[in-house]
């Protein structure tokens, strides 16, 4: 109780700060965000199992619908496992804004804004944190699926995850930007997120091959960045690393990331208004 008065408090230096770096700030933010996750292993475990359940229930249906045609180009699992990883990343990162919405209401976000943390780090650190559970989920999915007619190409898989991380930082940033934009009517967050995510997903050929759909869908899909990402992931997980498909996917990922960061950082800088 009295230690603050008795001890020579003034001699504890009013923090002399070494030069700030974006990297240090980003790591601080990510580490802080990860702390509650680490203390809550159950929700992490559920997160691990969910994609497996989806895989187990949707996979057989997919075989039933298009299994005997050759649109999947061979093995159903080879086609579907990369897609499920994209789906996990898609849902994982597009919903992260909801966490921020809560911190916007409580005042925890405002607290971060009055600290000397750089604005971009608040965004990048939060988005990067989402990559940690995603990487764990990927390991579990690949470990479980490899015995079932799924060929694991390690280099391709790692490159695929790296590409997914780039895309995820972009989508996560857009999700945060959405949360900041609708912070005064927070229910809007889910309306917008749900309205966008399903068309984006179905029009990317992620769940069902577009080749079996009508021509207009195939045309629209050409304008969906997610289409290129999904195609690139399938190519990478098949071990086909150097190809134009992958190049287009990388481009789609980079554009998403750049767009997300620009929009998100602008939102962060104005988020106290």
């Amino acid at each position: 109780m009295t230690s603050l008065l008795d001890s020579p408090t003034r001699s504890t230096p009013p923090t002399t700060i070494q030069r700030r770096s974006l990297l240090r700030d980003t790591l601080i933010v990510a580490a802080r965000e990860l702390r509650p996750v680490r203390r809550d292993p159950f929700s992490v475990m559920f997160g691990m199992v969910q994609p497996l359940v989806f895989l187990a229930l949707f996979g057989p249906l997919l075989v039933g619908v298009v299994g005997d045609s050759d649109v999947l180009g061979g093995s159903v699992w080879q086609w579907f496992v990369p897609a499920i990883l994209v789906q996990v990343a898609l849902f994982g990162t597009s919903t992260v804004g909801a966490n921020l919405l809560f911190e916007l209401q409580t005042g925890a976000h405002e607290r971060m804004l009055v600290t000397p943390l750089s604005r971009p780090s608040l965004l990048v650190g939060r988005s990067l944190k989402e990559m940690v559970p995603l990487a764990l989920q990927a390991v579990v999915i690949l470990a479980v699926m490899t015995p079932f007619s799924f060929d694991l190409h390690l280099t391709g898989a790692l490159a695929g995850l790296a590409l997914l991380a780039v895309f995820g930082v972009g989508l996560g940033s857009l999700s945060y930007a959405l949360a900041l934009a609708v912070r005064k009517q927070d229910w809007m967050f889910w309306v917008v997120q749900q309205t966008l995510i399903f068309p984006l997903m179905l029009l990317s050929g992620l769940l069902l091959p577009l080749e079996s759909g009508p021509g207009w869908m195939q045309v629209v899909a050409k304008f969906n960045p997610l289409t290129y990402l999904v195609d690139a992931e399938r190519s990478l997980f098949a071990g086909d690393i150097v190809s134009t498909t992958v190049l287009w996917g990388v481009l789609a990922g980079l554009i998403t990331a750049a767009l997300g960061l620009v929009v998100g950082i602008r939102g962060m800088s104005r988020s106290a208004d």
Binding site: M1, R32, E103
Partner: protein, 326 residues
Amino acid sequence: MISTRALRKDFVVSRSHTVHAVRGIDLDVEPGELVAVLGPNGAGKTTTMRMLTTLIAPTAGTAQVAGFDVTAQPAEVRRRIGYVGQGNAAGHSQLAGDELTSQGVIYGLDRRAAKRRTDELLDGLDLTSLARRKVSELSGGQRRRLDVAMGLVHVPTLLFLDEPSTGLDPQNRANLWEHILRMRAAYDMTVVLTTHYLDEADSMAERVVVVDHGEVIADDTPEALKSRLAGDRLVVHGTDSRRLAELAQRLPGAREVRYADTRVEARVDDGPSALPELIRAGVDAGVPITSAQVHRPTLDDVFLALTGRSLRENESTDSTAGKEAA
């Protein structure tokens, strides 16, 4: 420590509607002062504080805080000021101690120094036993103390408190203030707070800045404001209230003299010396006073004298508004 000139903030609500939340505030605060900014909800208190703490950019005017310009060098300002906002600073899913350590690291301490500082603050704010508790499980008063601790991690020379005790019961309010005043003495901090609790501004602040409609309408010590702007109120009873009212009218600085039935009310400059005078005058005139009271003015009387409105009315009608819109 703080110096603002013609500080303004407009919020554009729609094309045809702009809210002028702050309309040109000049404010100077010297090192070591404890200043309360008082005003009704929507007066511009919080908006002013958010500009001074770099959370929002001023529309016009300048503000120097802790030696730096809030617009040109916000990062320098942020390093030097402590801020306790209206909301709770700690993330709800975090542990109380972890949040303090994170803050320390954010302000440039290494992990070990941050941990040491965390223990110091937990101890100083009576939170040691709650270090490993989740923030969402803390009571309102405990959370508020944690907010203050988070604002003090980097030993700021200037501390902003935005409605620090709103929503706390009297006991927790008193407890929080005890901590704030001790911290202030320990670190010789300059403290600027906003409040709409009149008694809080009255008893805690050495200087009160009254804000209304985005402007400073008065700025002085609570004592000076009260005697200069409000004056003491006399309430006396006697059988001939009309005659007594006439006598009261002759007291030095008498104004707002009213009477009804046996009761007479008057405002005077110096109540304690005016009352015996009135009693003597009553006896001399053959209209004796049967009972008498002197009421010292409150800051609400000051606000009433300045604006013709009562702060209390504002408080009760706007209490649901919670956070200040402008």
